[in-house]
């Protein structure tokens, strides 16, 4: 994969502020034909902002963009599309209630055309899909697709419109290793056809494997550009964070008493197929058990069950020998700490101030309320302490939680869940979308909890994380859970195989 000829994109002096925040400052970049450029940077470094400007979602305060030698009018996604730029957003922009076909077709036909050429469109979608290995069912409703399939639809959408430059904002954050490698295969095909790709990721291994060149942003500035061949993981990490990153080390631990025990657990779904079926699992104090698996195989049901959001229809779920209640409040009273997958949708309430989010799980506790009245002073003091201990970076604890970046929000949720030293911790994708500095911080805290004897159940699709943290690993497939075997008995390949087997069954 080598770049040839004149640049397809040329960014000059791009600057963008959001109020007091300088999101981008004087960024100049070029992208060559057939090149894969990776954008790296900590959370909030300005990567998404930069590509949003490129695509016309935002209008830059300064600077200009040329695409294929022509100046690109600012702030106009239609113009970007016309110039052959396609974008796959960090958060999917698909309409759940519409079909795949409709999501792809939207905006591709003249608005006032009195009919829609669906048959021709279908043929073209099949063509494109076949050429790049992007199998999807055009008639399916998007709501029913898996995350990986949605990702493919997003890419198809861009390709269908004839994109020559494809921008992918953290495309692998939500994908399993299998899905990720399928995506990379597709990217290779694209580059072979002469497309250029800008690609944002926090996973350095991936970046090194896929891209030709890396651009590192820090605090909105372009701090370095490197050819992949001439750099290393360690150098990139240091460039991003501005200092060296130390990954936490997992000390040996001695498993304690049995805490959580599942026997023949079943959770019914909407259809005939149960979401969980005959699940057996044991987690002891002082150990981390990881559940790996392709998303959509029942991890969500397991998490819901253990977070008190749904009840088992058969089997037993026991905590310290007593049945586990299906009620979040009761779980909290028993000392279960929970870290949800979706920190903005479920973990926090964006409209409420940070301090109210911090005490939300303990709103009835006499520590924060007396005779129905809130003890605001105590709540604020508690929050300050949480923020300081977890290194949560924010303006003030009075600001609405939605203003926090994803990483900082995650640290807040983590602090809240770990407060009071829970004996059982359910952690779902705890480092999803975080930069390596933040990942290190999260892992450190989870390992600390293990060290003091807590039982941890880690539900994650990120195999790096699974290997970094877990004492024992079990694979979930089709609503059934395999045996939890010690981490050392697994290799990346064997784990991938077990998960891929699941996928095969599903297909």
């Amino acid at each position: 994969m080598t770049a040839t000829g004149a640049p397809v994109l040329r960014l000059r002096g791009i600057g963008k502020r959001f109020g007091p925040v300088i999101a981008n400052a004087d960024i100049s970049l070029e992208l060559a034909r057939g090149e894969v450029l990776a954008l790296l940077g900590e959370n909030g470094a300005g990567k998404s902002t930069l590509v949003s400007i490129l695509f016309g979602h935002y209008r830059a305060d300064s600077g200009s963009i040329e695409a294929f030698g022509q100046p690109l009018p600012p702030g106009d996604p239609a113009a970007a599309l016309a110039a052959g730029i396609g974008m796959v957003h960090q958060h999917f922009t698909l309409a759940d209630n519409l079909t795949v076909l409709e999501n792809i077709l939207i905006g591709t036909e003249p608005l006032w055309q009195p009919f829609s050429r669906r048959r021709a469109a279908l043929a073209r979608i099949h063509d494109t899909a076949a050429r790049f290995g992007l199998a999807v069912d055009p008639a399916a409703r998007v709501a029913r697709l898996s995350v990986g399939e949605k990702q493919r639809v997003e890419i198809l959408k861009a390709l269908y419109r004839g994109a020559r430059v494809l921008i992918l904002d953290e495309p692998t954050a939500v994908l399993t290793p299998q899905e990720s490698s399928a995506l990379f295969a597709t990217l290779k095909e694209l580059v072979a056809e002469g497309l250029s790709i800008i690609f944002i990721s926090h996973k350095l291994d991936e970046v090194l494997a896929v891209s030709d060149r890396v651009a590192v942003l820090r605090g909105g500035r372009l701090v370095a550009e490197r050819a992949v061949a001439e750099t290393s993981k360690a150098e990139l990490a240091t460039l991003m964070v501005g200092r060296e990153v130390k990954l936490p080390q997992r000390a040996l631990s001695v498993p304690g008493p049995l805490r959580l025990r599942l026997r023949g657990v079943r959770v019914d779904g909407h259809g005939a197929q149960p979401r969980l079926d005959g699940v057996d699992l044991e987690v002891h104090g002082g150990e981390i058990v990881a559940i790996a698996g392709v998303s959509g195989n029942g991890q969500a049901a397991l998490a819901e069950l253990l977070c008190g959001l749904c009840a088992a229809s058969a089997g037993r779920v026991e905590l310290d020998g007593r049945p586990l209640p299906a009620d979040p409040a009761a779980l909290l009273a028993l000392g279960v700490g929970r870290i949800p997958e979706d920190r903005t949708g479920i973990g926090t309430i964006g409209d409420l101030p940070v301090w109210q989010n911090a005490i939300l799980e303990r709103w009835r506790s006499p520590r924060f309320s007396r005779w129905g009245l809130l003890r605001r002073g105590a709540a604020r003091a508690f929050t300050q302490q949480l923020v300081a201990a977890g290194d949560v970076r924010l303006g003030s604890i009075e600001q609405p939680a939605r203003g926090l970046s994803g990483g900082n929000l995650q640290k807040l949720v983590l602090g809240r869940a770990l407060d009071g030293e829970p004996g059982l911790i359910i952690a779902q994708q705890p480092s999803w979308g975080l930069d390596i500095g933040a990942v290190a911080a999260v892992h450190e805290r989870l390992l600390a909890a293990r060290a003091r004897g807590a039982a941890l159940l880690l539900i994650s699709e990120d195999l790096d994380e699974v290997f970094a943290l877990a004492d024992r690993i079990a694979v979930m497939s089709h609503g059934q859970l395999g045996p939890a075997r010690p981490g050392a008995e697994w290799t990346l390949a064997s784990l991938g195989l077990a998960m891929a087997g699941a996928r095969h069954d599903a297909a």
Partner: protein, 308 residues
């Protein structure tokens, strides 16, 4: 009583009445549906219908043709729709409040204008309304005015527009996921404004049916809550034009039945119970349909670019 009921259902007259009562509801419901499919709740309908009823009638009274009257009602409805669009779509203000404000404005402004234009009347001035389409061979339809035919035609037309054309897809998309629409180069604000304005034009026509077809004069309070019924019917219909027609007909069916039951000498039950019937049935239907209904995901969510 049941025999009597069957007797009524056998009469074409019964169905003539059903269709006549349903017509303004059909126009109004389609109008609301169009707005909501694009993501905008339009509680201005009650006022916009009054505006349509007033301006359409006023135009005809001043000498314009009936169809010109309908057109003017549509345009004035559209103008108030534009106001609602300005407030809710462009400025992102609360759709509830803006809608109620537009309703308040529509009603009070038409009352004020009517009183200034006709200060000294003792009986309301009348016009010659649309005549039934006697020439048409079809039994029940022949006793309706052309506006009813238009309403019936508007249903498949709107269904086709929404489901089968690029414009319809774009409208649905801005109601489902405005961010994706914009990501595909469409103007979310433009589409939403267009939908609100067009939907409001339909509401204006709904109003004009009352003064130009169902009746021949304008009165204060002419619309009398019919607009709110349309808002309910759209939910009932699960945002589908075909079911909206069904809902409007069902509502009109109850109303027609109610009028007859009252006169049947079944006086043991207070007449208010009959009047409640359509509302109660609507709620019941909502309960039955609720699980299956698919809300436009972005309904009532203002869209501002580059904000989260």
């Amino acid at each position: 009583m049941w025999i009597e009921l069957l007797g009524w259902l056998g009469q074409p007259d019964y169905w003539v009445a059903v269709l006549r009562i349903a017509t303004p509801l059909i126009f109004g419901t389609l109008g609301v549906l169009l707005c909501e499919r694009a993501g905008v709740l339009n509680l201005g309908i009650e006022g916009i219908m009054v505006i349509g009823a007033f301006t359409g009638w006023l135009a005809v009274h001043a000498g314009a043709g009936l169809w010109t009257g309908v057109l003017i009602a549509a345009l004035c409805g559209a103008a108030f729709g534009a106001l609602h669009a300005l407030l809710t779509v462009l400025l992102g203000l609360s759709q509830h409040v803006s809608g109620l404000g537009v309703t308040l404005l529509g009603i009070s402004l038409s009352s004020y204008a009517y009183r200034l234009s006709f200060p000294q009347v003792s009986t309301p001035p009348t016009i010659v309304p649309f005549a039934p389409m006697d020439g048409l061979g079809i039994p029940v339809l022949a006793q309706q005015t052309p506006l009813t035919l238009l309403a019936l035609l508007a249903v498949p037309l709107l269904a086709y527009l929404l489901q089968r054309t690029p414009l319809g897809l774009a409208l649905r998309m801005v109601g489902e996921s405005p961010a994706s629409a914009e990501g595909q180069g469409l103007s979310v604000l433009g589409l939403r404004c267009g939908a609100v304005i067009a939907g409001s034009a339909l509401m204006g026509v709904a109003g004009s049916f009352l003064t130009l077809s169902a009746f021949n004069a304008f009165y204060f309070n002419m619309v009398n809550g019919r607009g709110w019924i349309c808002v309910a019917l759209v939910v009932f219909a699960g945002w589908r034009p075909g079911k909206a027609l069904l809902g409007a007909l069902l509502f009109a069916f109850c109303d027609t039945l109610q009028l007859r039951l009252q006169q049947g000498g079944h006086a043991a039950v207070p007449y208010q119970v009959y009047l409640m019937l359509p509302y109660l049935l609507s709620i019941l239907a909502l309960v039955v349909m609720a699980r299956r209904a698919q809300y436009p995901q972005a309904l009532m969510q203002p869209y501002r670019r580059g904000e989260r």
